[in-house]
Symmetry: C2
Subunit: 323 residues, 2 copies
């Protein structure tokens, strides 16, 4: 790979879509006219850990790396701004694949109003893609953190769960009788997850008290919320909104569907808490943003998380703290 | 490595040293009260390419990764703000070494007033460290870009050149008779380069017309300046300020010392242009910032770069465009 020609090709594939970007590619650093507060996160995906080049196209990899970073902005209720991309490329990855990786990322950037404003391309023994994103808000009060959940709050989640985990099982060769459309949706869910940016901003404005994106799975992410907020959270497994096909894939893999949905990650839905008094406004904000909302638990005093199944039993999920 | 315990240990080693940081480690993203313009860069170092774990301590690696990113801010004249760190760790790197890497980075963060405000730790087949930095200025006019060099401007550089390249030759086993103190300084220069943040801000304020940090070597970086500015630049090789010991190491390696100094990278000095009328103010700004300044060339109409040696000959350096 001729690094300079690759960088030129990548730069040719990118567009600045934000008039606040005063300088982007091609100088020592990008320069962006700021708004009140900057909201920043960095996320990294590595070959063999977060994806396999045998089952993901390089465009999938580029998409997923940016999606993971943007999902953190969604969880704060911030507006996406600029992304900065580090590509560590092994010799085995051709220039064309590296360019396709960035084209996959640019497609998501375009869809979300993000400008890929800078980056670094280096050689490495393994494919590692890091994306740092700067999001913005006019003031801190527009944002939602992890630590605002209060006893009595309701626990909710956008969209559907388990799709990414079921898609991963399919990629790993799990055999199951499944309508082709459902199979494709699960694979797409795993390979091209979409960050809930619009819903995140709407939920923050509507009064969500705490929020986190579902990257580790609802069980682990609810535990993060509980720990940050100093509360306990109970999750009703029967109310987890399973993506279409998750039940069939889970049964075929001899896993409880609710457990698969609660413990598999990268769905990039938003898990949030809200006081009963803001229940209505939060529901309608989610609906307006095109993200169906399910209520699936409650916040109480104490610490840790617990699970209740449809029959009122309290199953133990491996690896999770309990009430 | 237990990832959660490692992250806890890293978080315990970091300090917030900026009251603008409203949220840092432990939420989905960091939140920082903005100033007028954000100046952002991302830099990546990979094992076997930018360092070798056989000759660099993991603290060296952490230092160097942050230094490279901060050097980009220095080249714009921006003030450092926050750093966001991605660690892609191979199984062969222990938790203690990963912690030491971050401690090495934190030491430089402390020295430069930077807050490491967020990060991501993942598994990978190779050690890759990416650092994104947000720097700040009140307004765009405080910054210097690469494209402001004008015919008639002088070309200057801070500090000394070739030290990092000579240090690398020593690490690669080059034998040479050298006073021990000089040897140690060259090795230090390669392993722990310091970004010229204070000088960068002072030079920008004093009227530098264009600036870039010396990461690829003066020859390549002068070519970047020339191309961005649409001018030609002539470099006087005899005026390159060689670091102590560079001449001896270069001779031992049978390389022309000036060529080594002009073509080896990672010195992280600042290469700048200034009009003759701001020569005095630029010199005194550099002196006040503790960065001696050498004038080593001139800007003219045209394109590309050229070199003149002490006898007025125009040697060709491999791989560079010529006038």
């Amino acid at each position: 790979v001729d690094e300079l020609r690759l960088i030129e090709a990548i730069e040719g594939a990118l567009r600045a879509r934000d008039r606040r970007v005063l300088r982007w590619l091609g100088d020592d650093a990008a320069v962006v006219r700021a708004r009140g507060v900057a909201v920043t996160s960095i996320d990294t995906v590595a070959d063999g850990v977060h994806f396999e080049l045998s089952t993901h196209s390089s465009a999938d990899v580029g998409h997923k790396a940016l999606a993971a970073a943007l999902s953190d902005l969604a969880a704060m209720g911030a507006e996406p701004g600029q992304a900065y991309v580090s590509l560590a490329l092994p010799g085995s990855l051709g220039a064309q694949e590296a360019l396709e990786l960035m084209e996959g990322m640019e497609t998501l950037a375009d869809r979300t109003g993000t400008t890929i404003a800078g980056g670094d391309v280096v050689r490495s023994a393994a494919l590692v893609v890091s994306v740092a994103v700067n999001g913005w808000a006019e003031q801190e009060g527009e944002l939602v953190y992890r630590d605002g959940a209060r006893p009595g709050d309701l626990l909710g989640v956008t969209g559907e769960l388990g799709g990414s985990g079921a898609g991963l099982l399919l990629l790993q060769g799990q055999e199951v009788e499944l309508p082709e459309a459902a199979r494709q949706r699960l694979l797409e869910r795993h390979r091209r997850p979409l960050p809930r940016l619009e819903a995140g901003a709407a939920l923050a404005a509507a009064g969500a008290s705490a929020m986190i994106d579902v990257s580790d799975g609802v069980a682990a992410d609810a535990a993060h919320l509980a720990r940050s907020s100093g509360v306990s959270i109970e999750v009703r497994l029967a109310d987890l909104p399973l993506a279409d096909g998750v039940e069939l894939v889970a049964r075929a893999a001899e896993v409880d569907p609710a457990e698969l949905a609660a413990t598999s990650g990268d769905d990039f839905e938003l898990l949030l808490t809200a006081s009963p008094s803001s229940r209505g406004s939060v529901e309608s904000a989610a609906r307006s943003a095109g993200a169906p909302l399910s209520w699936l638990g409650e916040v109480a005093e104490g610490s840790g998380i617990g699970f209740v199944d449809a029959r009122g039993r309290r199953p133990r999920l491996r690896g999770y703290e309990h009430l």
